[in-house]
């Protein structure tokens, strides 16, 4: 894909995103579904910063997604903070956790690293589960909702208006995605690519591998926590499932399904996954098997993902 093609693709993606609430209905969707796609898309793209671009597999990203969600929910419910401040609370908590845990595990690699990320994710799941007084336990944290944002000049009613919240989420998404793109196109971002391509060679160019992987991990968790805050706001609710490892697995499959070597791949994967999940679960009780089947089929037959297949075709 040369530069012009990439530009065109970017424009197409943004055009679709900007207008999604309007054409969603026409294909059987609804605004909230569109927002969910944006939120999950951000989560998957954040995970892919680490997975597809640094070459490090984390299977525990839901922990930081959930921490963002719970942080926001608790800030709104217990501290009566506004939306933006509550989001900040969730993001800060999750990022600090990521920084500490990342430092503990960064010397491991491959399968072992993945196992440890899963295990750490579970710690937070159990805390949320058990600490019912604060977190609402298995029932989740209810009794709060997102507040309209007072921008001084105008009031953004993100609570009452679904479309308003969609565009709010889209703005947050755009900021995060722009920062990620800038990072990946910088010398620092190229060191991450180097680590993905060949860790030994990267080390022997003088790149301190562990430190750069730690940074990539923290950045990735920071953005996934932003997605988590949006998720809590979207549902006016959060529960321990936002922390569970099956959600982590879903993030990974979204990235792989869309194409983890591509910047927009995870967004595409998230769109397909979220839409599919929504459609299947409204038609049958056995949606779990269907999701499981998606995992198996993607791994066996479409490992390069949708964009990988499309690019392969266009190269011929």
């Amino acid at each position: 894909m040369n530069k012009a093609q990439r530009r065109a693709f970017d424009i197409a993606v943004w055009a679709l995103l900007l207008t999604m609430p309007y054409w969603m209905g026409a294909i059987g969707g609804y605004t909230e579904l569109a927002t969910r796609i944006v939120v999950m898309g951000l989560a998957a793209m954040s995970l892919n910063f680490l997975l597809g671009f640094t070459g490090v597999l984390s299977f525990g990203h839901a922990a930081y997604f959930g921490l963002g969600a719970y942080g926001t929910a608790m800030a709104i419910k217990y501290l009566a903070q506004g939306t933006l401040l509550s989001m900040a609370a969730g993001i800060v908590i999750a990022t600090i956790a990521a920084a500490i845990i990342g430092a503990l595990i960064v010397r491991r690699r491959g399968v072992y690293f993945a196992m440890v990320t899963i295990a750490f994710g579970q710690v937070f799941y159990f805390i949320a589960f058990r600490w019912n007084v604060v977190t609402g336990g298995d029932d989740g944290l209810t009794g709060w909702h997102r507040m309209p944002i007072d921008l001084g000049l105008a009031n953004l009613d993100i609570f009452g208006n679904d479309k308003a919240f969609y565009y709010f989420a889209l703005v947050i998404f755009a900021i995060c995605v722009a920062i990620m793109a800038m990072l990946l196109n910088s010398p620092f971002g190229r060191t991450l690519l180097a680590i993905r391509e060949n860790e030994r060679r990267a080390r022997f160019l003088g790149i301190p591998i562990e430190r750069h992987i730690w940074l990539s991990f923290v950045i990735s968790c920071l953005f996934v926590s932003v997605a988590g805050t949006l998720y809590a706001l979207l549902n006016n609710f959060t529960d321990p499932r936002a922390l569970r490892f099956d959600l982590s697995g879903n993030f990974v499959i979204m990235a792989v399904l869309g194409g983890m070597r591509f910047f927009w791949g995870p967004l595409i994967g998230a769109a397909i996954f979220v839409a599919l999940q929504d459609y299947i679960s409204s038609h049958t009780e056995n949606w779990m098997s269907a999701i499981g089947l998606v995992f198996v089929l993607v791994v066996l037959f479409f490992p390069r993902g949708v964009l990988g297949i499309l690019r392969g075709r266009s190269a011929e």
Binding site: M182, L183, S186, P187, F188, G189, R190, T191, L193, A194, E197, N198, R200, R201, R203, F204, L205, G206, I207, P208, I209, H212
Partner: protein, 250 residues
């Protein structure tokens, strides 16, 4: 000041003595070749110098500094760059990007998230310079994993060169190459040695390359230094011939 000084370095793996009391010096501007039969411990010796593990005993001094406690990255940052027996490059990136990453790290930019136009042009110029040194300018946008073996090796050497190293360590650069590729690589190494005045430590099996390029040669066998000297001296040495022909060393 001696650039690299290895003093009585040994490396044991349990009861296996891979490197046994080896001493060696490399002066600035020298091209030193290390030769020896298979299993002589040459690559292990390289790994010792470049920081894969610490010596079981002995010391390694680079520019007078004891580098025994330094990590691999730190040794690279001190000015030691190396290539590997199996070419280590970034296969799914273009040749230009491979060199760009090396050049950026060398220029201290590895943590930069934004590059001003002036610095970017400097890096571009450096990449172009390196590409022309290895005759890879017309292949610069190709994925380096898709290049021929010889071109990949050249790219790897250029990446090491991008770091502006004081000492260039090459582990069997002509392994698996035909005559033409061997000639091209040897010519590249000679150019780097003479024109860029790089100090080079070279492991090689191809004697034509060794005897053409080396200022001095060290012969290793069974982890020990068997002989050391100029190409002429080594060519005439009976102990060396015996080692290569398999008779017990005198």
């Amino acid at each position: 000041m001696t650039l690299l000084q290895v003093r009585n370095a040994s490396r044991h793996f349990g009861s296996l003595i891979a490197v046994d009391d080896v001493s060696l010096t490399v002066e600035p501007g020298e091209l030193r070749a290390i030769i020896g039969p298979n299993g002589a411990g040459k690559t292990t010796f390289f790994n010792l110098i470049s920081g894969f593990f610490k010596p079981t005993s002995g010391a390694i001094l680079f520019d007078g500094e004891d580098i025994g406690a330094l990590t691999c990255e730190q040794r690279v940052q001190r000015g030691m760059a190396r290539t590997f027996q199996v070419t280590e490059i970034f296969p799914e990136l273009s040749v230009a990007d491979n060199l760009r990453i090396a050049a950026e790290v060398a220029a201290g930019l590895r943590m930069k998230i934004w590059l001003g136009g002036a610095i970017r042009r400097e890096i571009d110029a450096r990449v172009d310079e390196l590409l022309s040194m290895g005759n890879l300018t017309d292949k610069k946008d190709k994925l380096v994993g898709a290049l021929s073996h010889g071109d990949q090796r050249a790219a790897e050497i250029l990446m090491a060169l991008a770091l502006r190293p004081r000492l260039l360590m090459l582990d069997e650069p002509t392994a698996g190459m035909g005559d033409q590729e061997t000639y091209d690589i040897a010519r590249l190494i000679r150019r780097l040695h003479k024109q860029e005045r790089l100090s080079v430590l070279l492991i090689e099996h191809d004697m034509r390359v060794v005897f053409n390029l080396a200022d001095r040669i060290t012969v290793l066998a069974q982890g020990r230094v068997l002989a050391e000297g100029t190409p002429d001296e080594i060519a005439r040495s009976e102990t060396v011939q015996a080692a290569y022909l398999g008779k017990a060393a005198a």
